[in-house]
């Protein structure tokens, strides 16, 4: 197997430009280099609106890069690559389907029979802690529970690469902490590589093996830090350890400048 040598995700000099509605060009990502190894948990942090999400859509194949190379499992990304799961920032569960049918979507799309898909879905609904809620519709669930549905919906396909775009940012602090712990529990042992985009440095450090700090937009990787905290981690407790605070200080030093730049731009726009 070449999986030891070939990184599962590789971005080399990736640039993404969008045409803006007024006919101008907006560069979301510029000259971005990032590699992720199999089974690695990488967090991408950066100021709000810097182009972190665009990075994920390049990897997922939803958007082609304007320049540069994006490869998954050593192959250039042209369509949506095999084995990729993507959890979006906004709720992407179907409001007209029950919890069970939402989770069964992936297997159904991939050609499983209805009963087979439902069996796998039922298993995952249980694993994310929603046993008993199979027949509920999304509007009957809380925000945290809907995130669990989305998580099950993504994980039921058993992705080798999991892309997560600020999945917990809309949740309240307690629920977010709980969901982080759930994510770590579900991820451990799967061997899947994770790219987790967030603007919350604390969240990044709780979860990840490596943290990539992005520049204020257009985004590019400014610096990559190793997070040498032991696993398995207790998502709630680890924030209180001294090792955590040391890494936090180190990374924040780098992130602060970018946040500052973004703030100045924002206030310039307001004034």
């Amino acid at each position: 197997m070449t999986s030891e040598t070939v990184p599962v995700i590789e971005l080399v000099g990736a640039t993404k430009r969008f045409r803006s509605a007024s006919g101008g060009v907006h560069t979301a990502v510029r000259d971005l280099d990032l590699t992720v190894a199999a089974g690695e948990f990488v967090a991408v942090v950066g100021p709000t609106g810097c182009g972190k999400s665009t990075t994920l859509s390049l990897v997922s194949g939803l958007e082609p890069p304007s320049h540069g190379r994006v490869a998954v499992n050593g192959r250039e990304v042209t369509g949506i690559p095999e084995g990729v799961g993507y959890m979006f920032q906004a709720d992407a569960v179907l409001p007209w389907r029950s919890v069970l049918d939402n989770v069964a979507l992936g297997p159904r799309y991939r050609g499983a029979t209805s009963s087979e898909a439902r069996d796998r879905a039922r298993d995952w609904v249980g694993r994310v802690g929603l046993g008993g809620f199979e027949d509920y519709y999304p509007h009957q669930l809380s925000g945290g529970m809907r995130k669990r549905v989305a998580l099950a919906q993504t994980l039921v396909n058993e992705p080798r690469i999991l892309l997560m775009d600020e999945p917990f940012s809309a949740l309240d602090v307690q629920t977010r902490g709980l969901m982080q712990a759930e994510l770590l529990r579900l991820w451990s042992g799967t061997g899947a590589a994770v790219v987790f985009v967030t603007h919350d440095l604390e969240e990044a450090l709780v979860l990840a093996d490596r943290v990539a700090v992005m520049t204020a937009g257009p985004a590019t990787v400014k610096q990559v830090f190793d997070v040498r905290l032991p696993r398995p981690r207790d998502a709630e407790e680890i924030r209180l350890t001294s090792g955590f605070l040391d890494v936090y200080r180190e990374v924040w030093e780098s992130l602060r400048e970018e946040v500052q730049i973004t703030r100045e731009r924002m206030s310039g726009r307001v004034a």
Binding site: S60, L62, I80, V84, G85, Y86, F88, A90, D91, A92, L94, P95, W96, R97, S98, L105, G106, Y109, R110, Y137, H139, Q140, Q153, T154, N157
Partner: protein, 291 residues
Amino acid sequence: MSHDVALPGSAAPTDEDFAVSSARAAVRRRKLTVTGVRLLLVAVWLGSWELSATYLIDPFYYSKPSAIGGKLVDWFTRTTAFGSIWTQISYTLQEAVAGFVLGGVAGVLLGIVLGRSRFVADVLAPFIKAANAIPRIVLASLFVIWFGLGMSSKIATAFILVFFAVFFNAFQGAREVDRGLVNNARILGAGRAQILWTIVVPSATSWILASLHSAFGFAIIGAVVGEYSGADKGLGLLINNAQGTFDSAGIYAGMIIITLIALVAEWLLTLLERRLLRWRPAVSGSHDVQI
């Protein structure tokens, strides 16, 4: 709030129980009052019409409730000028339903197809706008020339009215599909057809159902106007004939029958809507009233 823990099934009435039962009674009283006032309104309206038509105004032009009632009884117990009233109703209904179904299906299909294809939608946009600006009811006359006095010309009129109403909503519904849902489905492994069936059609459904409500009204209008323009059977013909013979009671009577049909259709559509949109949070029509 703190209240004593009542054992399940314990009969001792608490403050809470009393509040609940008195609230229920208040709701019941209110319902009764509303219904009562409604009935009173109808009685006052019909009574004043009857009285003024008897003593003040000329019932030849304005007719009066008793004459209209008599006309209805006459139609249903004996016959109309063109045969049994049931034949007329069934003719108009068949035309309306056929126009409704054909127009609805065509509107939904074309609306979703165009809504999903940006290029085709951009190309056709001005033509659609122009077609929508045509006073379509005039087409009824044209359809009589094209299809003759039989049912097909009325079906065509109903079709064209229904089609546009449904088409625009289906078009809009298909365009407003949440991109996030589509992207999510693509990542989960959905192909184009699967996206259409599992994402686009269900999200356009609430738009389409909203249009179907008014569309059935349009179907009846299409059928009746079609009969106006020339027919040998139907409620429109009955009304047109009443107009020709200065029978104002006949016009009202026809109107009442059509209204009832439309109400029944509306009720059936509401049932369908409830069935299809079960997943939607209930729109709470109830308000908390301070006690």
